[in-house]
């Protein structure tokens, strides 16, 4: 009996040595991957940090082309001294022409890939993904995580609605909703977030600007940040106020009938960060005036945004999913046949809570 136990002990320890190991400085950890479609060929770009002295890292770039998307990573491997590891991938960037052609294959492959995390960011680049990645690798930014940090910062603090791989897949696979991704653009030696790219079945169909993406953020779920500029006028004086969202909730309701109507009740608790000097905000009357004008403008802008979605036939707000949850045996096809002429009415209610510490 005792001998058997010793045997078990020894065998267990020895078998534990059979594991396959990946040692951190013997792999190439790629942080961002770009996909482009150029001149009839797919181009893949990977950026990864190489460790020089101590904590200093230097971004490096690998790029390769192929006639399919599948063997881009294996081909990158053939240019790399160390095995490529995708476990720390933080960003997948699609060039616009690639996105137009369809990102389905990449998305399905990411959905199957057990190595990548669900908080991976996807984004679309105006022009080439490769050029954007080169900027982050070669200019003063010199940071492999620059783009993914930029996106995450804007989700947390600014106008970008929450996105990541999970949310994209949820919108992509789900019935009654369409995915959207952050849209990045090269500006000089920097990269700038320029709004949202809209997708229909994995194909890029258009974009909206950063101001509109704040509205999308409001309409999607409870949000706690973002800023929005609203024009304001009083006695022929014209100016703008800057609204800062503190907490916003949206509530959808469906009125059934021959022509169903969807009402969106949007309640924004906001503070006004900046306003023209001629405006006397502590004055109750002017306060009401500003509030009314803000609500009117937001209503107008949201209506315009929704009709833009309807015209393009995309549904990033998940209106179809909302109707599904209120309809027995909902049918996707027949719903989207009538989607274009669906009546969707926003009702915005702005509560101005603060105007800052000075008057």
């Amino acid at each position: 009996m005792k001998r058997a136990l010793y045997f078990i002990l020894v065998v267990t320890f020895m078998l534990a040595g059979c594991k396959s190991s990946r040692i951190v400085d013997q792999v190439q950890i790629i942080h961002a991957m770009g996909y482009d479609w150029k001149k009839g060929k797919y181009v893949g770009t990977a950026i990864y940090p190489t460790f020089r002295q101590g904590p200093m890292t230097k971004p490096d770039i690998l790029t390769t082309e192929s006639s399919t998307t599948y063997d881009l990573i294996p081909r990158l491997s053939s240019k790399s001294a160390l095995p490529i590891e995708e476990g720390q991938l933080r960003l997948v960037l699609f060039g616009k022409s690639f996105a137009k052609k369809g990102i389905t294959e990449i998305v399905h492959s990411l959905a199957r890939n057990n190595k990548v995390g669900m908080r991976l960011q996807l984004a679309v680049a105006k022009g080439d993904a490769e050029r954007l990645l080169r900027i982050t690798a070669e200019t003063t930014l010199s940071d492999t995580l620059y783009l993914s940090n930029l996106i995450e910062q804007n989700i947390r603090e600014m106008n970008l609605p929450n996105t990541n791989l999970h949310i994209f897949l949820y919108n992509y696979f789900g019935k009654g909703r369409d995915p959207f991704l952050p849209y990045l653009e090269k500006k000089g030696n920097f990269v700038k977030l320029e709004g949202l790219a809209l997708f229909k079945d994995g194909n890029y169909v258009g974009r909206i600007d950063l101001r509109q993406s704040f509205l999308v953020k409001l309409l999607l779920d409870e949000t706690k940040n973002g800023v929005y500029q609203i024009p304001i006028s009083k006695n022929k004086k014209k100016g703008r106020v800057l609204l800062e969202n503190l907490f916003a909730t949206s509530q959808y309701s469906l009125r059934r009938g021959r022509e169903p109507i969807i009402d969106i009740h949007l309640r924004i608790r906001a503070s006004i960060r900046d306003y023209p000097t001629w405006l006397d905000l502590p004055n109750k009357k002017e306060f009401q005036l500003v509030r009314k004008q803000m609500e009117k403008h937001l209503n107008k802008d949201i209506t315009a945004l929704i009709s833009l979605f309807q015209k393009k036939g995309v549904d990033p707000l998940g209106i179809g999913d909302f109707v599904r949850s209120h309809t027995r045996h909902w049918d996707e096809k027949s719903f989207y046949k009538g989607y274009r002429h669906l009546q969707i009415r926003p009702h915005v209610n702005v509560d101005i809570i603060q105007t800052g510490i000075g008057e």
């Binding site: 009996m1 058997a4 136990l5 078990i8 065998v11 267990t12 078998l15 534990a16 059979c18 594991k19 396959s20 476990g87 399905h108 959905a111 057990n114 995390g117 669900m118 908080r119 999970h166 949310i167 897949l169 949820y170 696979f173 789900g174 019935k175 999913d321 909302f322 949850s325 209120h326 309809t327 027995r328 045996h329």
Partner: protein, 369 residues
């Protein structure tokens, strides 16, 4: 003297909670949302409640069977007394083969998960060997050791794995539950049939019933164990219904593990790998319990000593685990075993119950006259 000796091998009725619950909660909970979703979509939670209620009734029947057939008997003796030596032993052999293949399914599915998620290059035999050596170590310690393992198999996952699932509520879409009852009653019942597979394992009480002190009193704990399983399944299905939508879940093989991709801790960026490793605590008690049930049954049937039959059983398990390599083969094995298990539950236990209670009524009438 003999009675005192036997007492050493028994466990308190309280522990039935852990053996019942531990045996039910296996690899199925990692992927049952997907199968359920195919049949009833977002109404799956109703099916779980129905299946749970059915299992409560089945457990009640098991206890009635043993009460009617007298103290200190296990299923091997009951079968022989009810159906005669030949048919009874045939049923016993069938049960043992079923328990063995139950252990095999759990073992092979877990190894598959490790291979897919963590170590794609690793062979089956290495894991299988480590597991079965550990099983040998545990089971040769006797039933009480196996039950002790079940207790840890309850506590450790509940404290480590379970809380990780709640992180994904960050992405909850509570609207996904609406409209309730969007599927027909037939679909919901079909779903309930599908979920019954996830409750399999509790029928091993047929084997260890005689090892429980004051066994009839342990029914309360057996029922609580099942109720707790139902509660866990409801929580898991609740979280995955709000996290995934119906189309998305079709593309995920192990929805519960993919749920665990969401939490991020500063020093552990990817929790699912930790969960897969900790899952040994869920898997291991089941394998031990099933292997123990097989050796115990063999001892009753053929008076082969457990210490002698154990290596043979483990060798069979080892060889069989190497036999299934492809995803479809494993899925097929899983399907065969769970279908068998379903019929064990739905046909064998109720008919044995009817048989035993009718027989008892006749006997008591005969003794009255």
């Amino acid at each position: 003297m003999k009675q005192g000796n036997r007492e050493r091998f028994l466990v308190s009725p309280f522990f039935v909670f852990f053996t019942i619950h531990g045996a039910q909660l296996g690899v199925g909970v990692l992927s049952f949302q997907r199968r359920l979703n195919e049949i009833v979509g977002h109404d799956g939670w109703i099916s779980i409640i129905i299946a749970g209620l059915a299992v409560h009734v089945l457990i009640w029947m098991v206890y009635k069977i043993f009460q009617a057939s007298g103290e200190g008997k296990d299923i091997v003796r009951v079968n022989i007394e009810c159906f005669g030596k030949w048919i009874g032993n045939l049923l016993n052999a069938g049960l043992l083969v079923y328990f063995l293949s139950f252990a095999l399914v759990v073992l092979r599915t877990y190894i598959e998960i490790i291979q897919v998620w963590v170590f794609p290059l690793m062979g089956t035999w290495q894991f299988s060997l480590i597991f079965l050596l550990l099983t040998y170590y545990t089971v040769s310690g006797g039933f009480r050791i196996v039950v002790g393992l079940c207790v840890w198999g309850f506590i450790v996952p509940l404290l480590t794995i379970f809380p990780m699932l709640f992180f994904s509520l960050e992405y909850a879409h509570y609207r996904n539950f609406l409209p309730v009852f969007d599927h027909s009653i037939v679909d919901i019942l079909k779903g309930a049939k599908g979920v019954t597979f996830e409750y399999l394992g509790f029928e091993m009480i047929l084997m260890y019933y005689s090892f429980v002190k004051n066994a009839p009193q342990s029914q309360r704990w057996a029922q609580w164990g099942t109720a707790f399983t139902t509660l866990l399944y409801l929580i898991v299905i609740f979280i995955s219904t709000v996290f995934y939508n119906e189309e998305q879940i079709k593309h995920v093989i192990w929805p519960t593990l993919t749920l665990a991709k969401i939490p991020e801790i500063p020093f552990i960026e990817r929790v699912e790998y930790i969960i897969i490793s900790t899952y040994v605590f869920v898997i291991f008690p089941i394998i031990c319990l099933a292997v123990w049930a097989v050796t115990g049954g063999l001892k009753q049937m053929t008076s082969l000593k457990q210490r002698k039959s154990l290596p043979i059983i483990l060798a069979i398990l080892f060889a069989a685990s190497l036999f299934f390599n492809k995803r479809e083969e494993i899925a097929l094995l899983d399907q065969i075993v769970s279908t068998t298990g379903f019929y064990v539950l739905i046909i064998y236990i109720p008919s044995l119950y009817v048989f035993v209670s009718v027989k008892k009524r006749f006997q008591s009438k005969a003794s009255m006259q």
